[in-house]
Symmetry: none
Subunit: 366 residues, 2 copies
Amino acid sequence: MNKTIRKGANSLPINEILAGDCIEVMNALPEESVDLIFADPPYNLQLRGDLHRPDNSKVDAVDDAWDQFDSFKVYDNFTRDWLKAARRILKPNGAIWVIGSYHNVFRLGAELQNQGYWILNDVVWRKSNPMPNFRGKRLTNAHETLIWASKNEAAKYTFNYEALKALNEGIQMRSDWVLPICNGGERLKDDNGDKAHPTQKPESLLHRIVLGTTNPGDVILDPFFGTGTTGAVAKMLGREFIGIEREEKYRKVAEKRIASVRKFDKDALRVSTSKRAEPRVPFGQLVERGMLRPGEELVSMNGRSTAKVRADGTLVSNDVKGSIHQVGAHLEGAPSCNGWTYWTFKRDGKNVPIDVLRQQIRAEMQ
Amino acid sequence: MNKTIRKGANSLPINEILAGDCIEVMNALPEESVDLIFADPPYNLQLRGDLHRPDNSKVDAVDDAWDQFDSFKVYDNFTRDWLKAARRILKPNGAIWVIGSYHNVFRLGAELQNQGYWILNDVVWRKSNPMPNFRGKRLTNAHETLIWASKNEAAKYTFNYEALKALNEGIQMRSDWVLPICNGGERLKDDNGDKAHPTQKPESLLHRIVLGTTNPGDVILDPFFGTGTTGAVAKMLGREFIGIEREEKYRKVAEKRIASVRKFDKDALRVSTSKRAEPRVPFGQLVERGMLRPGEELVSMNGRSTAKVRADGTLVSNDVKGSIHQVGAHLEGAPSCNGWTYWTFKRDGKNVPIDVLRQQIRAEMQ
DNA sequence: TACCGATGTGAATCTACGT
DNA sequence: AACGTAGATTCACATCGGT
């Protein structure tokens, strides 16, 4: 680390972690010299007070100084400057990936477009295990957004269509990626056993990006290197990397981490492809989709009970309200009940099990 | 259709489709008068035709230079103007939903923030049956992005947490929604059998938005009404709507469509509510009513602590005095504590949560 | 060993109301 | 407007200790 850059030279500081402010460091690199940039900039979260879980434990929030900006204007200036510096060092056919949340991603996307970058896709990282919303005041923030853009509209960017299709079991890769957050053994810890970096990204995410949008030997630069996920995956997949990181503690962790990675050591990749046997289909979806109407009557399989569907996907039967399972269990005096096989609805004079509708939705989802 | 708006009057043109440019029409509506705005703005503007450059110079339809930067400027001006008009007519505690793709959603989100709207969530509509990418040059564009924002940071927006949770079978609703695109019988056709509108949204999408972020009777305005999905769902779910649409052919289709919609009965529209909506019961009432006696001992749910009830409805435990919440929090060393679920009392040899007594009082209040 | 329950934790713009 | 108090609120995993 703390490498000196030979200015003006055409040689790049390959597979090194450069210390310093990313804008200054990028400006010292030769122009049109890198193939891909992956950037995970500060999100500018504006957290007010502490947040506790219902069990009173405190959420360890991102309150680091590097995420604090005084205003959107300050954040926009910062975004403009680093994207401009990135653009200069990008090869004509190079591309960029940025990641963000609703706090900052709209500023990022707009500025990319303003500078002439050409958006190829926005990609949604759907987290399979996000943190819930503890106060019940909003939707669970269960995704982050990535933007993939070429240097300009005419650029011949790299896209390994077949590789991604293969990774997706023969089906064309979509713009929404379901991947778990980085935890467990992959999550780097400091000497105290605390997380080494508050926002470490999973290697599975970078694996997809590197495999799909670079070729072996390409140079991938990450201006917000952190603990070096980009470098680790680049090395594994036989690409070169350049990391830039301001904070020494992160550089140290990254240095050590990458040193332990072996090239092409794909076994080291912890790509989790958590496959559920059957996707869960909430009963409410049948109502939303108009397959069942609010107010419509359901009849139990044994014909002894009826219940009315409500707009939020719950049932009412006399004074009992609840899910298809809860109401079924109550009516039967049973501890539990599979509502999917218990309830039927009327179509063309016949009683049809509601499970038929679930199968229909599952077929659509493949 | 083609309704005249009574300017200055406090009465809204409810459940009508207003003809004209949405900015002009919104500016003619009374301020702070609608509860929710749902907007699906166009992004394929015919920029070369009848528009002006940002500096107001005219654009030659044929061969005038019209670069990307100019076109973004025009789009941003358009976005700024309609979002400003929308903001004026929104009630202080109102909210807005906008939907877009990567072509325009970053401009939308950034301008929302610039105007002081407060983003609550960005939501990904994950299409279960998207159009494949035929050329294999990019990822399948399989989602669109929605932004949900309140009028400002302090606003008390409507969020029916329990209803959405019920719709999702008891698990809190996430920010990624898997719903099919609008096709089949739901897709409106014109007289030639072609689709009546290029971007008709599925009713399931609006169902979730209307159910989750409005109350029955609320006024929902859609400035880009198209074929009236917003109006149809609003009517079904017992809300009022105001549509604005420039093109007569869409207004006609929407008019006919909404006329054929049947409102769901009131009972079906009742949704699950949270405890927060229940009337507050002071603990002291339990003592006043003799449900608990002064001097009686309460035991904590975990069995580790006890406290004595005092005549004024406070508790004493050793040297600690205060409300059921304060004493519970102190004994647990927690930042806060819900005394109602923390404390139990003895009846017939069993420990009964004091919340049972509160339920009893609430039932009597009905 | 295998299973079970208790415990811990993750990029979070996370309350409402009365005084 | 600031402040204090009542009291409502969590999902998917990973780890670990005990049976």
